[in-house]
Amino acid sequence: MLIWFLPVFLVFLMIGLPVFFGLLAAPGMLLWLNGQERDITLLYRNVYNGMDSFPLMAIPFFMLAGELMNKGGITLRLVEFSQALMGHLRGGLAHVNILSSMLFAGLSGSAVADTSALGSMLIPAMEKQGYTRRFAAAVTAASSVIGPIIPPSGIMIIYAYVMGESVAALFLAGIVPGVMVGVGLMLMVRFMADKYDLPKAQRIVNPGQSMAPVEFWFSFVVLRVNLAGLATVLAVMAASGMGFAAFSTTVTLLLFLIMMVLSHFLLLRLRGVVSSDFRIVCKKAVAPLQTPIIILGGILLGVFTPTEAAAVAVAYALLIGFFVLHSLKPGEIPGVLNRAGITSAVVLLLVGAAMAFKTVVSLSHAPEIMAEFVLTLSENPLILLFLINLLLFVVGMFLDAGPAIIILGPILGPIFTSMGVDPIHFAIIMSVNLTIGLATPPMGLVLFVAASVSKERVETIAKAILPFLAVEIAVIFLITYIPALSMTIPRWTGFAN
């Protein structure tokens, strides 16, 4: 009887009831009809307890960090850096658009932020170079979905929380699929560049830039610290791998100092290889690109939890925004806090409602009943994974990734983990598939944002995006059938079994 809440919920959703109310109204109604009025109180309690969570706090924090980074010249710095690396290729600005999305993905966990920040800058620039507007908008939208796949990722925090997985493991598992989407899109651009004769661009847009002394010394030190830190960590790992006893703090520190000197000389040698304009563009990207290093480095080394990493990212964004890049003004802060607060409030309510929904899902034995049905279709996990990808793709066409994940995760997750699919692997399949759904018509949040940024019609962009979607679908199938693609990094670092 209780299982009827699922169709009721679907009807509510289809007629346009906000997901938050649907998640509560459908189970509430069925509980009431079932004479379980007391459990309705349980629904309310689960909404509250679902929101009262430390891991979830990473959502407002990452949103805040992304917003702060977005202010001022950070987007421009990333775009100029990408252009210095890839602008000279044929279809240069399209490549730049994709690479910027990949870099931006390390600062923010949202595809929408990615589209609006990069689109407003790159779509006009691409048009000026002779690309059609619909192509420019389609590349922007298609590459923006990398945002929530490469960590940090709002969607993965939500999934990890609702399904009780480790946020760190999901973050790490997203790296390779995110890079694959990016590289795949670049290959498609490369192919189209030959076919449609897409133009090259200059590597340096604004030659003769200068750098303030604070920023110069900041990037000077940070670059060396990063290189030396990486080398030290690798050396320590290699030593323990070869059976040496663990180094003492003094020895590690000494090693780090030696590495600092070595990296300084290495960088000095590299100086001569590139032009001074190229160097300055790269140096200007150091401060923004330190954010993903802090987040991932901190989580990987066990220095902080993802939530703490997010708070540190906020502090870092404030620090460089005020003192290094001078891109922030104190007057902008309340507006940024307001936007981040309102947006995360909606997400948190939704997650709370999803936790309540999840209890009813298990009370009603929905996963078991669904599993029985699913197993009548086929017992081969490979075929079932194919079917599930189809289902997710269709759902992604109509629903945003966040709500879709919290509704479907509790229902589908248990079915596949019981068939032996690793929960982290399944989480990545779901996240990547539904994230790509953000760029599919008819309901794609990213498409809508791309349309409003470019002033091009949604339908036109939806047509131009098809070749890129084909690439992304291919990536979905690759990560579905080759678990090692997503699982290697979390396994190697000990965050997954």
Binding site: P18, F54, F61, E308, V314, L348, F398
Partner: protein, 196 residues
């Protein structure tokens, strides 16, 4: 129509002001959350002292942020929904459909307000939080633990605000169904960062 507008405009006025206060407190709450977690990190690493309170204090702020800021999003149409059917229908049917949807939402909210009141005043609210204290007297000599009901109040207040907004939206829907769209007080667009 006249009666509807007569009820709507004071409600709209009250909601605007309540939500503005809510957002102001919400902004402070977000800032405090960041500060609390940074204090936690700094104390653990720099001073080698794991504090008990930042975790709970930050969650306290987050719950209040949610309760006070989500109603603003609801009022400005920021709650996620699939609105394809509403867009496909002719105008009159579409506004009847959204009226129906608002009534379902209202039912959910009214029940939530009742349960919320029982929860805040009930048994669970009597417990104290684990690590949050407030001064018990003016001379600060006595400190008492914050009761859990202060934390639970956040969502209760949020549900009340959502209900007020919902009633306002129903009235707006009725006015525009009767062809008075141009006489409605303007609502600002939702200004959201996008979570996906």
């Amino acid at each position: 129509m006249g009666i509807l507008l007569a009820v709507l405009s004071p409600l709209s006025f009250v909601n605007s002001h309540l939500l503005r206060i809510g957002r102001a407190i919400g902004i402070v709450a977000v800032a405090l959350m960041v500060v609390a977690i940074l204090i936690q990190v700094v104390f653990r690493y720099v001073l080698n002292n794991a504090l008990p309170w930042p975790d709970e204090a930050a969650r306290f702020c987050m719950l209040w942020m949610t309760g006070l800021m989500a109603p603003t999003a609801f009022r400005r149409g920021g709650f996620v929904a699939i609105d394809m059917l509403g867009q496909a229908l002719p105008r009159l049917l579409s506004s009847l459909l959204s009226l129906l949807l608002l009534i379902i939402s209202l039912a959910v909210l009214v029940i939530a307000v009742q349960i919320g009141y029982a929860e805040v005043t009930g048994f669970g609210g009597k417990f104290a939080t684990a690590s949050l204290y407030v001064p018990g007297n003016v001379s600060l000599t006595e400190w008492i633990r914050v009761p859990r009901s202060w934390m639970m109040m956040s969502i209760f207040v949020g549900v009340i605000l959502l209900t007020l907004v919902n009633i306002e939206l129903i009235l707006r829907n009725l006015v525009s169904t009767f062809g008075g769209t141009e006489r409605l007080p303007a609502l600002p667009d939702v200004d959201m960062a996008g979570a996906d």
